[in-house]
Assembly symmetry: C2
């Protein structure tokens, strides 16, 4: 099992290194921008070409795996049996388009439903976060320590903008109990912050490809990742996810209960 | 006048380069942390020692100037006559303490009330933004172009967390009309984003030292910086400031009017 993890980890680091180099070239090019679910849910030609490229390379190297991916070049997946790859070619497409910065590319791998390996590249900063339960978590070649198990009062929180403005699930109370709010617009960059202990909580509505890699890495470093009912997340559906230190996730689950 | 600007610009770049090197060493050290106006308004021993250092060097080089500074090592200033330096030794102290990242040090210089030179260092990324109306604006040695005069709909907005959660001055409507909200927790880093066109608006309650350098640089690049009444800001008081592209600031002033 450790050998499989190591092999996939090396594969993902090489894959995302190359993807990152291409996206760094693409970021200042003219883009075809379309909207998906609403005016602020963007997709570009580069999301599609990057995903097609990633999916092709995974299929070449892991022909028996199934692939869940954002822009539809993967498989129709109804089961977590065997090796499942989750692909987000450009996470934070709005930042990619408007800021030319603060976006990521992510791949999470699960074996029979269990987190195996995850990898996230912060493209413009050339930092790859990767590893899994058999390996530990690395920033490039440097192993990361477990973040301190801080309380809500001791830390900054990251909550999706639309969720906190609506006070959905009592999220404004969470902000008031914390050291303050940050909103970054890219799940991959948020997971980077959580892994390094910069913030203590992330709360957002996430699709499987938004969550898959970050969940592997967070859980490996002793962080907690659950749904709003406190139960493990379902990797085949979209849901509100609470990720953070164990103490903070307990506190937030209590606050969520009070919203009902 | 241009010679004065050039001389002060060179002085500030050298000053902030040294300040940045020291703060980068300090960021992981144990800190004495106190609160000021509330539990999330922090000050550390490093804010104080950095300001004492900056104020001392300014006084040595510009003995006739007056200094407005955050932690009280400057002068009592009631007039904008002559050369006035505004000093923020650590801007984003919460980020400095919790994230070890995304904080700045800033100095803004005004001559008889007019913006002359400003300098902001993004400490951990080693980027200094500096210049003024006689010089243009530079990121380190690279001159920046004017950001595109985008509309609200076309861009991301940065609004202080407490202000937008309370919907103070109709700020939630501003968010809804835009491409989305970001919250960063450091005025200096926000000004960096505005200068590079990553976001199109910043709205926050700012003290003179939070605003001084950013205002010089923004106005030099054709961005607009006003109070909520649309009038020029008063550099000797704290106030809600609206900074952004000219189109966006006009749109936001209309939205603010509707909040009354």
């Amino acid at each position: 099992m450790k050998e499989t993890s190591q092999e996939i980890d090396r594969f993902l680091v090489e894959l995302l290194t190359n993807v990152g180099k291409n996206l760094e070239q693409d970021v200042t090019k003219t883009k075809d921008v379309d909207t998906k679910s609403g005016p602020n849910d963007l997709v570009t030609n580069f999301d599609k070409s990057t995903e097609r490229n990633i999916v092709g390379i995974i299929k070449q190297n892991y022909p028996d795996a199934t692939i869940v991916s954002e822009e539809g070049f993967g498989d129709v997946v109804n089961s977590m049996a065997g090796l499942v790859f989750f692909v987000d070619p450009i996470d934070g497409t709005m930042n990619f388009v408007k800021c030319h910065d603060s976006f990521a590319s992510m791949v999470g791998v699960y074996l029979d439903g269990k987190p195996l390996v995850g990898a996230i590249i912060n493209v413009m900063e050339h930092r790859i976060y990767h590893g899994g339960p058999d390996l530990g978590v690395f920033e490039n070649n440097h192993q990361l320590a477990q973040p301190i198990n801080s309380t809500l009062k001791e830390g900054l929180v990251i909550i999706s903008g639309p969720m906190v403005l609506k006070n959905y699930l009592n999220t404004q109370e969470v902000v008031h109990k914390s050291s303050g709010l940050r909103v970054l617009g890219c799940a991959g960059i948020v997971f980077e912050h959580l892994l390094k202990g910069k913030e203590v909580l992330y709360m957002s509505y996430l699709k499987p490809w938004d969550l898959a890699a970050g969940r592997v890495l967070c859980e490996t470093l002793g962080l907690s990742v659950v749904g709003v009912d406190g139960e493990p997340v379902d990797m085949l559906k979209s849901q509100v996810v609470i990720a953070g230190t164990q103490k903070v996730v307990s506190e937030v689950l209590e606050t969520v209960k009070n919203s009902k």
